[in-house]
Every structure is written in C-alpha cells, then in structure tokens.
C-alpha cells in the first residue's frame, strides 16, 4: 500500500504538468460523477471516452497491472449497466442497479486519483500549488502530509505485526482492543517523528517569510496541450448540446 503514495518517477513515460492532471480530474468529477450534461447523448459518449483517458495515462506510466485491474473492472460494471440492468426487476435490480450507479460514477475519478498520486512528486506538486498562488498555510501541511504517508503506513505495519503476536486482532482473543492498541502507539510514535521532522524542516527554510525556490521545472508541453484540448472538447460538446446544435 505504501507504493500508492510514493511517486515512481523513473518509469513514467509521459510527463504531464500537475495542473493538467488537476484539470482532467475536475473535468471527470464534473461530468462522470456530477452527471453534467448526461441528458445529451453526445456528451454521454464523450464522458465515457474521457473516462478511458486515466487508463491510458496509467499505461504510459508502465503501470500495466493497475491499468488492467481498473480497466477490466470498469468495463465489467459499465457493460453490466448497459446490458444487464434494463432486463432485471425487483430486489436484484435495486442491489445491482445501485452498485452500478455508484461505481460507474466513482471509478473514473478514482483511477485518475491513483494515477495522480503515483506520478507526481511532492516537489512538483508544491511547485504547481505555488504557481496557482495557493498560500503557504495550505502547501506546507500538504507537503508534510505526503512526505509522512509512507512513514505512517510503515509504522502501522510494524505495530500491526506486533499486536498480532499478542493476539490482538479481529477474531482473536483480544479483539475489543483492536483499534485502541493500534492507534495509540501509532500516534505516540507519529508525534515523536513529527518533532524530529519540524527540526529538519527548519533547516530547509520551511515556515519563513521569504519566497522559497524550487528545483522542479514544471510547465505546459505538447502533451499537456493535447490533453487539455480533449477536455475542452467535452466542455464544447456540452455547450453545443445546451444550445441544441448536437443531441
């Protein structure tokens, strides 16, 4: 699970600007999850097409396994929604229908999120946030947090093993202590690591009033423009549909 929060930069083929990813994410959220323009048929096809985009991103980052798992799951649910749901009735319908309703809308955003977390370094993310004029009060906690995720998961795994040895686990003798005996040690060691981290951060000039520089070169390239044009096309379709040019 630790791999989910740490970026693998060596293997990513297509480097996109963090802001481009953010825009794709917002577009997916608006159309796929929010269901904007789903009364217009062309927009509906466009949304499905754009939902496949994160899968292509995952492929370019050589995360074939993740792409295959997500892709087949999405294809399965989408086809179930199209072919299966209209033909069933009653209680089965409500269960399957609800699952389809939730998953078809959540999946594109979740895949994009998985790609975004695994392909953006903390440095790049901070640089992008800085360019968007997000205040330091937000960027510092966020960067600390992303830096801290792997540590928390590592500590949690270690504590988990220790507690399993003491038979404090679900289905074990001391299941009632399950949460307490994991969270309390986790918080104690996190607080300690945290004070070390703040000392380290001081030496890097975090929290001072001066403007910080960043070594990361971020900017919009040809691939960003291509992706942005694709998302813009969907918005155009929606506007055209609202006017009534396309159906």
């Amino acid at each position: 699970m630790a791999g989910l929060f740490t970026a693998d930069i060596e293997n990513r083929g297509l480097v996109l600007d963090p802001r481009t990813k953010l825009i794709v994410m917002i577009t997916l959220v608006v159309f796929a999850l929010g269901g904007t323009g789903s009364d217009i048929e062309t927009v509906r096809y466009g949304t499905t097409a754009l939902s496949i985009l994160p899968l292509i991103f995952l492929m370019t980052a050589k995360q074939y396994k993740k792409a295959a798992v997500f892709g087949s799951l999405y294809a399965l649910i989408k086809s179930a929604e199209i072919f299966l749901v209209p033909h069933i009735t009653g209680a089965v319908l409500s269960v399957i229908g609800l699952c389809c309703l939730i998953f078809v809308r959540l999946m594109p955003g979740l895949i994009m999120g998985a790609y975004m977390l695994s392909s953006t370094t903390v440095s790049e993310f901070i640089a992008a946030m800085h360019r968007m004029h997000i205040p330091q009060q937000i960027t510092i906690p966020l960067s600390v947090m992303f830096r801290f995720f792997p540590t928390v998961l590592e500590e949690f795994a270690a504590i988990n093993t220790a507690m399993k040895m003491r038979d404090i686990r679900i289905g074990g003798k001391n299941a009632g202590k399950f949460i307490e005996y994991r969270l309390v040690p986790l918080m104690v060691c996190s607080v300690n690591i945290g004070s070390e981290l703040s000392a380290a951060a001081l030496t890097r000039g975090l929290g001072t009033k001066v403007k910080r520089t960043n070594i990361c070169k971020i900017g919009f390239h040809i691939q960003d423009i291509a992706v942005l044009l694709l998302t813009a096309a969907l918005y155009m379709l929606w506007i055209l549909g609202m006017i009534g040019v396309v159906k």
């Binding site: 996190s190 607080v191 703040s198 975090l206």
Partner: protein, 188 residues
Amino acid sequence: MKGKDLINIGIFSAIYFVIVFIIAMLGMIPIFLPLLSVLVPIIGGIPFMLFLTKVRKFGMIWIMSIIMGILMLLTGMSWPPLAVSLFTGLIAELIYKSGNYKSAAKAVITNGVFSLWVAANYLPLFFAAEKYWASRQNFGQDYIDTVTKLMPTWMCPVTFIVAFLCGIIGGLIGRRLMKKHFEKAGIA
C-alpha cells in the same frame, strides 16, 4: 502560526487520512458505504482529539478541514466535500476558540462539527440523481422507483446528523484514551 504548527497539521492530517483511506477501502463493498459516516468520525476522533491538544492558534482546525476537502477532490470524490469542509472547519474552529482552545467539552463538539465533511461525500449521489434518471428513462419507471427508494432524499440530512453524533461519540472515546494514555506520557 509558525512552521511547527503547520507541520503538526500535516502530521495529524496524514494519520487521519490513512484512517479514512482504510475505512474507505471497506466502503468499496456497497453495504459498508453508508457506514463511512459512522466509522470515520468515531475512529478518526481519536487522533483528532490529540491534535486538538496541540492547537493553540487560530486557523489550525480550519486548515486541516480544508486539507481533507482537497484530498477528497484529489482522490476523485468531487467538490462538495471541499465546499462543506470550508464552512464546517471554520465553525469547528470558532467553537473550540470560544473555549480558549482548552475546554474539553467543546473539543468533543468540535470533533462532531469537524466530522460533517465525511457526510458531504454523498452529496453528489443525492443531488445529481435527477439528471441521472433523466438520461435513463428507457430503463423504465420500475428501475427508477427501486433505486430512489434505496436512496431517498431525506437520507441526505440523516447522514449529516449521523456524522455529527458519531463525531461526538468519537470525541468522547478519544477523550477517554487521552486520559488513559497520553496525559500520563506527557504528550497531550
């Protein structure tokens, strides 16, 4: 607010989000989805109560709340959590501030208000529902009726109330653990 405060926010946000993340994994099984607004406020309340003992300056709770909203946006849960967390975070902040950042009773209420963002994750499923049905008329009225029966609009305020109450419960549990472990160890 100094660098140390901001780093504290980051650390506790990380612990809180890992908890949210693990619980959200359970939410992948649809029956557990409504349980999100029960489990997150209760279990998340434990680290949050410890976080509150570190809060001394205005804005710390608010920032953590906004960060939760941003994370929900980044992980593809849409924008309503961010919109809600902007407000509930400020209210939570003001409640805790009114007790001079010390009052234990107000800390419990703060956790309740803070937890409201969890319920906001469901908002798109309620609000965008009509548009969703409009495009699926060909599925038949039967289908629309059964699914709306499962997710009636009155469920929407209920999830918020549940999140608040569970936040209070989580706050009380967190308070008890704090007395039992952290005050003795001199961390809280």
